[in-house]
């Protein structure tokens, strides 16, 4: 059952006066002038500087830590170690396996061991050198297969239950329908079964702003932590729990965040350390990560080893999908329990699958912990699966866009794993990229070296359940109307650049008819905003947008009622728009919105409201794990990528990506396009150049990050980045705010397989391992040339009709 729209999705576009227009961001002025204050821009009187000592070993027991010499250094105010904060934490309550600082074991090169607070950074750094740590080295696991194979230990973590493998975070095996029967049917009925092994290399978020936090414990015992986080609420909870404080005595402030992409979506060591060091010293303490530390904190894309078996009937319709995935999780669980489910659960759209099975295992290794990076858990399988589809299309001689069309899931349905799908604009996405890219003129028709590829995907608009079980709303706002006509919105949501504060202002301006610049958004402070769970899983527009509508309409009803009485009209005849209250059908009857607000305040007392949103609970199956992957709505995307491959160097120039994305409704198309472009860029980056890799023992130091700097870790420049063409599809979701769904993560997914498929179209090699870096493509071309000496001269593969 689809619930009636909370957000008035049925409203016709012409009835909207703010939503849907191309508008500026509300924080653009502060950011363009350098006046936005990021965490590191804050300097408090008497502030100390903290630094964290990090492990040089990938895996070792801590035998002893002597901090006495460091503590004695002039200018040092406090030194803490793991024993000062012995409570474990973890973003997922079922897997609390981290300490703010290691207590008795280090698990990767870079794991935090001790922290100091000193008068300046130099003194803090000098003090770190005086901390003496005695380690006993332990065998290190760098490969997830090795870690899994060591079923009898030694383990990276003590097993949560006796007899379990302590090197495994989570195993998920789920099956829907009869996979073997589907595979057999595909074989027998003239169809095809394609098998492939794929490797997705780890990558990291690399926000331009490094993590930073400031702690201030005041005389009353109240703790304030400013942090560049995208989850102030979860940080609030964990700070209180780990530091054994009453949550009522903890305040988290989130200044503007200089990029996050999932990399700031759980508590980090620096937040606990600034808090503890301030509690000890009574002075504010700041820690700013070096860029090197940002690489160690990581929580980025998991390396995935994937095997897929995909069967299709002769007409291209999918018969069965079978997946086996080994995930390299790094040293801690992070969101890994969810990642393991997502690796399978989120593959079941936009295509219908009669039978599907996945078996995913997340292993611990002695490397920085992996976690959620934009497109959490589903970017890697999407790469493999969309390449599989390309191979099926080729084998069956069906155009790959047509193949995807034939398998499209449709709207108002359920997936094979019982996820409820409401709106679905996937077919329109396919049609748009097909037309815009001139696909029919290009596919299999371009000269050798040049090619096009297509891929599709889906993503969630938030998760149906919060990371800790509770029945409270997922998102809430508080709204307060001033006699001047100004509306203040107190929002717990996290502005990380995606434009959430702007979205709040658009929605409230739309509902209450006030000019955009009369909406003030106050956000990111747990002391005076209601809870929103954070900027993750593409949940904010959908959930917070609905909460804003809820709050605004409460006030609106009061205003309409009182103005209707004054005009002797019906409340629904009172329209609020353009700074006015206007009588429908009689525009001569109007009053400034301020007067309308004043009338309402006179009638009802101080004008304000709260609003909230919680997810519907009937949108998934009832099997164990069915809730993970469930979302109130799904976005859909299709990309076509065009590449030019230099066969001599293996360099892949991605010339252009056409991005069609179904975001439900674009509340502000400018911001939606920005999300689409940023997503496609980030997918392109992972496809072509990014890799978070570590040295092996043969290369000198096992587990040492190979390149923890922007000097070596390659992210694209303006010159590297392809032309990006955004094509918005609006399917108008019945439950989204005005029909909106997510736009910030879905459009990343297809970039990677679309580029892989385009490389095949260009030069006839299948790239099954990421990234498609020049040496790797060159080697693939060499191998292909050795296999088929004619390959290079086979300029244009036969066109598919």
């Amino acid at each position: 059952m689809i619930r009636p729209a909370a957000g008035g999705a049925a409203q016709a576009p012409e009835a909207l006066s703010v939503v849907g227009r191309r508008m500026r961001k509300v924080d653009g002025l502060a950011k363009a002038t350098g006046r936005a204050r990021y965490t590191d821009d804050i300097a408090l009187p008497g502030m100390l500087h903290g630094k964290i000592l990090r492990s040089p070993h990938p895996h070792a027991r801590i035998l002893a830590i002597d901090t006495s010499r460091a503590a004695a250094l002039e200018g040092v105010h406090a030194v803490v170690t793991g024993r000062d904060m012995p409570t474990t934490y973890g973003i997922i309550p079922w897997t609390p396996d981290e300490h703010p600082l290691c207590v008795d074991r280090v698990r990767y090169v870079g794991d935090g061991v001790a922290a100091v607070a000193a008068v300046d950074e130099d003194t803090a750094n000098a003090a770190l050198e005086l901390v003496e740590v005695a380690y006993e080295e332990l065998p290190a696991y760098l490969d997830p297969h090795d870690a899994i194979a060591a079923a009898d230990g030694p383990f990276i973590h003590e097993p949560r239950k006796p007899g379990r493998n302590g090197n495994v975070t989570k195993v998920v095996k789920l099956a829907f329908g009869d996979v073997e029967a589907g595979i057999a049917a595909a074989r027998e009925e003239g169809g095809v079964v394609v098998e492939g092994d794929y490797f997705f290399e780890g990558t990291t978020h690399t926000p331009i702003e490094p993590h930073c936090a400031i702690g201030l414990a005041d005389a009353s015992g109240k703790l304030t932590v400013w942090s560049a986080t995208q989850v102030p609420h979860y940080l609030h909870r964990e700070l209180a729990r780990v530091l054994e404080l009453d949550p009522a005595m903890v305040r988290v402030v989130q200044p503007p965040v200089g990029g996050a992409f999932g990399g700031k979506s759980e508590p980090f060591d620096l937040e606990f350390c600034v808090a503890k060091l301030s509690m000890i010293t009574g002075r504010p303490v700041k820690i700013l990560y070096t860029r090197e530390e940002v690489f160690y904190s990581h929580r980025g894309r998991h390396p995935f080893h994937m095997r897929y078996r995909t069967g299709a009937r002769a007409d291209g319709v999918l018969a069965a999908v079978d997946a086996e995935i080994v995930m390299d999780g790094g040293a801690y669980a992070s969101f890994g329990l969810v990642t393991t489910y997502y690796s399978g659960q989120l593959l079941t759209a936009p295509y219908q699958m009669p039978a599907y099975r996945f078996h995913s295992t997340r292993a611990y290794t002695n490397k920085p912990a992996c976690g959620p990076k934009r497109g959490h858990g589903s970017v890697q399988p999407r790469f493999a699966f969309e390449v599989q589809l390309d191979r099926i299309a080729e084998a069956l001689e069906i155009d790959p866009i047509e193949l995807r069309r034939r398998n499209a899931l449709g709207e108002g349905t359920r997936t094979v794993n019982d996820l409820r799908v409401t709106s679905n604009g996937f077919l329109e996405c396919l049609a748009m990229v097909e037309d815009a890219s001139a696909w029919r003129r290009k596919f299999r028709r371009l000269p050798y070296g040049r090619g096009v590829g297509v891929a599709g995907s889906t993503y969630i608009s938030g998760t149906n359940y919060p990371v800790y079980p509770n029945d409270m709303p997922q998102s809430a706002v508080q709204l307060q109307v001033d006699r001047s006509g100004r509306v203040a919105v107190f929002s717990g949501a996290s502005e990380i650049g995606q434009g959430v504060d702007s979205m709040v202002a658009y929605v409230v301006a739309e509902e209450l008819g006030v000019p955009l610049d009369h909406v003030r958004v106050f956000a990111g402070d747990t002391d005076f905003t209601p809870v929103d769970l954070g900027a993750y899983s593409s949940r904010v527009t959908f959930m917070l947008g609905n909460a804003c509508i809820d709050a605004a309409r409460r006030v609106k009803r009061q205003v309409q009622k009182v103005v209707a009485e004054a005009w002797d009209a019906k409340p629904q005849e009172v329209l609020l728009a353009g700074g006015l209250a206007v009588r429908a059908g009689d525009t001569g009857t109007q009053m400034p919105i301020r007067e309308a607000f004043n009338l309402a305040e006179a009638a009802f007392g101080a004008l304000g409201a709260t609003g909230s949103y919680d997810t519907p609970k009937d949108v998934h199956g009832s099997y164990r794990g069915a809730t993970i992957g469930a979302s109130p709505a799904y976005s859909f995307t299709a990309h076509v990528a065009e590449v030019e491959v230099d066969p001599e160097t293996g360099f892949v120039d991605v010339v252009q990506i056409w991005i069609a994305h179904d975001c439900g409704r674009a509340l502000n198309p400018v911001l939606v396009e920005g999300q689409m472009e940023g997503s496609a860029y980030m997918g392109f980056a992972e496809a072509i150049m990014e890799e978070q890799i570590f040295k092996t023992a043969d290369q000198g130091r096992a587990g040492l990050h190979n390149a923890p700097s922007l000097l070596d870790y390659r992210i694209p420049t303006s010159l590297d980045t392809p032309a990006l063409r955004s094509l918005i599809v609006e399917s108008i979701d019945p439950e989204g705010p005005y029909g909106a769904k997510e736009a910030g993560e879905g459009p990343l997914h297809p970039s990677i397989p679309a580029i892989a498929n385009a490389i095949y179209d260009a030069v006839g090699v299948r790239m099954n391992a990421l990234p498609f870096s020049p040496p790797r493509v060159w080697r693939a071309l060499q191998a292909e040339a050795a296999r088929t000496p004619a390959a290079r001269s086979a300029a244009t593969p036969a066109a598919v009709s």
Partner: protein, 264 residues
Amino acid sequence: MEDFQYHAPGSVDAAVSLLRDAEDGKVVAGGMSLLPLMKLGLAAPGGLVSLGKVSGLDGIADRGSEIEVGALCTHAQVAAAEIVRERIPALAAMAEGIGDAQVRNRGTIGGSVAHNDPAADYPAACLALGATIATDRREIAADDFFLGMFFTALEEDEVITAVRFPVPTRAGWAKFPNPASKYAVAGVMAADGPAGVRVAVTGASGDGVFRVAEMEAALASSFEPASVAGVSVSAEAMLSDDAAGPEYRAHLVTVMAKRAVEEA
């Protein structure tokens, strides 16, 4: 970064004497090579002698058979200079491809040459064109100047004043940059000039810039891309990092050499 003495003398002579007196002194011009190393703790000079206040070292002059580039000329200046663009376009193209705009605004030819980073571009241009490095006390042929990674013939207190490039009949530059650092994974200058036919390679070897005799011989008989297309260098001496392994780098040297000849 450790603190250090800092001097900004007004003349080369004063700079030399300050260097002589300094404990572990280093010359700094734009700082694009030295400051990153100091920030990483890979260099910790006791004293820095800045050439920022020394005048007369930032000119580019046409000396007939040679182009003289003052040591303080920035990469941006060399890339934009009409004289260079007309007479040694390969040198302008090379300067235009160094780092990024801000690096080119600050980084100088003198600094790049003195630093001799194994992946820097200027050493290849100097070697291929048979340049002469002029200092406060002598002139050093490029052949004798670059002695290995971060190692040159300069004495501790010696200051480069200019680099003179003989104008070649033809020369070409091709570089395959590391997408992160913009340093060369393999960069090749091929030149046919007063010093003969020369092919110099940067970025590829841990020993720094080197010449490829076999390519030079092939080009001397026929200065065509095809002449070098079949000539490979040994992978054994190649650098290996995550941008490129030794075999791929060796392959790139050949491809870049071919393209440099095409550009010439």
